[in-house]
Structures are given as structure tokens and as C-alpha cells.
């Protein structure tokens, strides 16, 4: 009897952890549902690869900052918690910045300013404040990973759409003939318009459910 109860408790915990992980992917997708982190979303989705690398860089910072803030939550005084979070996040961003500069300089060049700007990405600070500062390490890690991958997925999808329409290719693989390119989708106006339509589609899907 007791054993059964224990296993049920564990099962519940497992499903909770799974939920923590998957909610970032779909139900609370940071870009398409919560509308957080609009600047990198619009600026770096000129191609699928750029979008994906931006997403992965953000995921890395999100996971590490969530882990550390969750570990440090008992030592940080409540009144100065936001500046402390920002320092932790900024340190990891600097790490990412230096690593990318050393190993993938071409991607670092294209993403440029938006790597250091992960510091002010509302998703990272938002998860630190809303989740990691109140939960133990393991769920915080899963939450960061889920949210980060959700962000990466939507950035990659947007990147694919824009690259396909504007350059006739996906992940640098030419699909359409030269003449069928609509350049404006790689330029700034295309970013706004594509994101607008994708959010409209997501809204409609949510309603019809």
C-alpha cells in the first residue's frame, strides 16, 4: 500500500517535470504566445541557420542562468534580487560571446549586437524571476531547456519561412529558381509581416481547439 503510494507520487512528479519541460515548447511558447524577446526574433531570422544559432545561444544562457539562480536563491536578499539576476545572466552572456567569437566567428559576425543583447532579453530575466527563484534545480533546468528550445523552434521556423520566400532556399539548400525570390522578406519589413501572419495563424489554431 505504502509502496504503491510512493510510486504514484513519483509518477506525479515525473509528469510534473514533463509538463515543466513541454509547456515552453507549445502552450507557453515565448515568441508566438507570450510575445517575449521580439527584437532578436525579428532581427536574426533572415535565414534558418541564423535563427537557429540565436535560439541555441539564448537556450544556453537560459539553462545556465536558471540553474545558478536556483542554486543561489537562498543567498540572494529579496530586495536586490533583480540586479543579482542581471549580473548572473550578463556573466553567462559574456561567456557565450567569447566562445562564439573564438569558434564560430562567421555566425558571431552576422548576429553581431544581438549576442550581448541576450542580457536584456525578457525571456531570460522573466524565467529567472518567475520560475528559477522559486523552484529547485532540476525543474529549473527543465524549464530553461523547454523555454529555450521553444524559442529556438519558433526562430528556426520563422527563419525557414523568410529564407524560403526571400532567398528561395532553406538551410542554404536552393529550392526555388533564381527568378522566384521576393527580396523584401529578408529585409526588415518582411520580418514584421511574417511574424504577424505566423502569430495570427497560431491564434486561430488556439481558438479552433
Amino acid at each position: 500500500m505504502k509502496k504503491q503510494q510512493k510510486s504514484r507520487k513519483e509518477e506525479l512528479k515525473m509528469s510534473n517535470n514533463l509538463q515543466t519541460f513541454t509547456k515552453g515548447l507549445l502552450k507557453e511558447n515565448p515568441t508566438l504566445v507570450l510575445l517575449l524577446g521580439c527584437c532578436p526574433t525579428l532581427a536574426t531570422t533572415t535565414s534558418a541557420i541564423n535563427g537557429m544559432s540565436m535560439g541555441l545561444a539564448t537556450t544556453f544562457v537560459l539553462v545556465l542562468s536558471n540553474i545558478f539562480i536556483s542554486l543561489l536563491k537562498n543567498f540572494i536578499p529579496d530586495k536586490v534580487r533583480i540586479p543579482c539576476f542581471i549580473v548572473v545572466i550578463a556573466s553567462f552572456v559574456t561567456v557565450v560571446q567569447l566562445v562564439m567569437q573564438a569558434y564560430v566567428p562567421s555566425i558571431y559576425e552576422t548576429l553581431g549586437l544581438f549576442i550581448p543583447l541576450i542580457v536584456v532579453n525578457c525571456i531570460v530575466l522573466g524565467r529567472a524571476e518567475a520560475f528559477a527563484s522559486k523552484n529547485p534545480v532540476w525543474p529549473s533546468l527543465l524549464d530553461g531547456l523547454g523555454m529555450g528550445l521553444g524559442f529556438t523552434c519558433s526562430l528556426t521556423v520563422l527563419g525557414c519561412i523568410r529564407e524560403f520566400l526571400g532567398n528561395g532556399s532553406i538551410f542554404n539548400l536552393a529550392i526555388m529558381p533564381e527568378t522566384a525570390k521576393i527580396l523584401v522578406f529578408i529585409l526588415p519589413p518582411g520580418a514584421f509581416i511574417v511574424l504577424g501572419f505566423v502569430i495570427a495563424i497560431v491564434n486561430n489554431l488556439k481558438k479552433s481547439k
Partner: protein
């Protein structure tokens, strides 16, 4: 003449929102009413110019001599956060009327990526205003920051005006809210592309 080129280029040609994608969150968040847009625009002009001035000085006289350029991101975000807090306290004491007008927007500005973005741009990127590629001097940096902030305010106010009209239109169900706002911004960005090449 050089300063005029910087101002024209930052406000119209390289508009911070429509071509650089900095500060989109406050752009979408505070553009529902023209009065809110005016307040936010004024607050951004004030803080962005001031913070660029301070971060430029800190970079030039503290970080560079000590060889600590890699700390730019951390140092700048802390300076901006502290500065915004200080401006809020000083305004509350000196000019309560200005504080009530800008007060709500000030805390939001810390996480406005345009502020950190511009501070980092002016100390890391070379520009060729006036023919030769060079790092910006203090005066040029401040004018650059002020121009960017004015471009932000201009975009925000135009967009708020358009959005007030959209409120009265019949928009398809799924398009209501953010999607139609984003598509409007896209069309505005197309219009701003017309300025390409004037400087």
C-alpha cells in the same frame, strides 16, 4: 554638417525600430495610445542620451586603460540600471510634474534593448560619417544616441496614431491585436525604406 548627417541617418535611414530592430517590446507595448507614446518617447530620449554619455566615458577612461573590454556587457547593463534608478529618484525630488509624466516608463527602460544596444554600438563599431571610417568621439556618440532616441520617439508616435485608427476598423478575428499591429509596422518599415540613400 557631420552632425546633421548623423542626425538624418539615425532618425530616418537607420531608424532604430524599422531597420535595426532594437526596442521592439516597448514599441509594441506602449503604442496603444498617442499620449502614452509621447511619454515613453520623451523618457527614452532622456535616458538613452544620458546613458550613452556615461557609458562612453566609463569605457574610455576606466575599461580601456585597464584592458577590460570584455566586461563591457556586464558593466554597461549595471550602469544603465543604476542610472535609471538614480534619474527616477532625482526627478521625484526636483520635478514632481515631470516625474508623474515619465515615472511609469522609467523602470521599463532598463530592459529596453535600444539603450544597451546603442551604448555597445558606439564603443565597438566604426562609422564613416564625413568620409573616413573612425570610432565615434564623445560629441558624435551623444548626437548619435540622441538621434536614435528621436527616431524611436518618431516611430512610436506615428505607430500609435495608426493604431488608434485600427481600433475603429473591422479586423478579422484571428488578426486582432498583435498580428495586425506587426503587419502595420511592416508596412511602415516599407515606407521608411524609401529613405535609403538620402545620406
Amino acid at each position: 554638417m557631420k552632425y546633421l548627417i548623423i542626425i538624418l541617418s539615425t532618425i530616418l535611414v537607420n531608424n532604430v525600430i524599422f531597420s535595426q530592430f532594437l526596442g521592439i517590446c516597448p514599441f509594441l507595448g506602449t503604442s496603444k495610445k498617442t499620449s502614452t507614446a509621447l511619454g515613453m518617447g520623451a523618457a527614452v530620449i532622456f535616458v538613452l542620451t544620458l546613458s550613452t554619455l556615461v557609458t562612453w566615458l566609463v569605457n574610455q577612461y576606466i575599461l580601456l586603460p585597464l584592458g577590460l573590454e570584455f566586461l563591457q556587457t556586464i558593466a554597461f547593463i549595471l550602469i544603465i540600471a543604476a542610472l535609471v534608478q538614480m534619474v527616477e529618484i532625482i526627478l521625484k525630488k526636483i520635478s514632481p510634474s515631470l516625474y508623474t509624466a515619465l515615472g511609469v516608463f522609467l523602470p521599463l527602460i532598463t530592459t529596453n534593448c535600444a539603450v544597451l544596444g546603442v551604448s555597445l554600438t558606439v564603443v565597438t563599431k566604426e562609422f564613416n560619417y564625413g568620409g573616413v571610417a573612425h570610432m565615434l568621439s564623445l560629441g558624435e556618440s551623444v548626437v548619435y544616441a540622441a538621434g536614435i532616441a528621436c527616431g524611436f520617439a518618431l516611430a512610436l508616435i506615428i505607430f500609435a496614431g495608426v493604431r488608434e485608427h485600427i481600433e475603429l476598423m473591422e479586423v478579422p478575428e484571428g488578426m486582432k491585436g498583435t498580428p495586425i499591429a506587426l503587419i502595420t509596422a511592416g508596412i511602415l518599415a516599407l515606407a521608411f525604406m524609401g529613405f535609403t540613400g538620402i545620406v
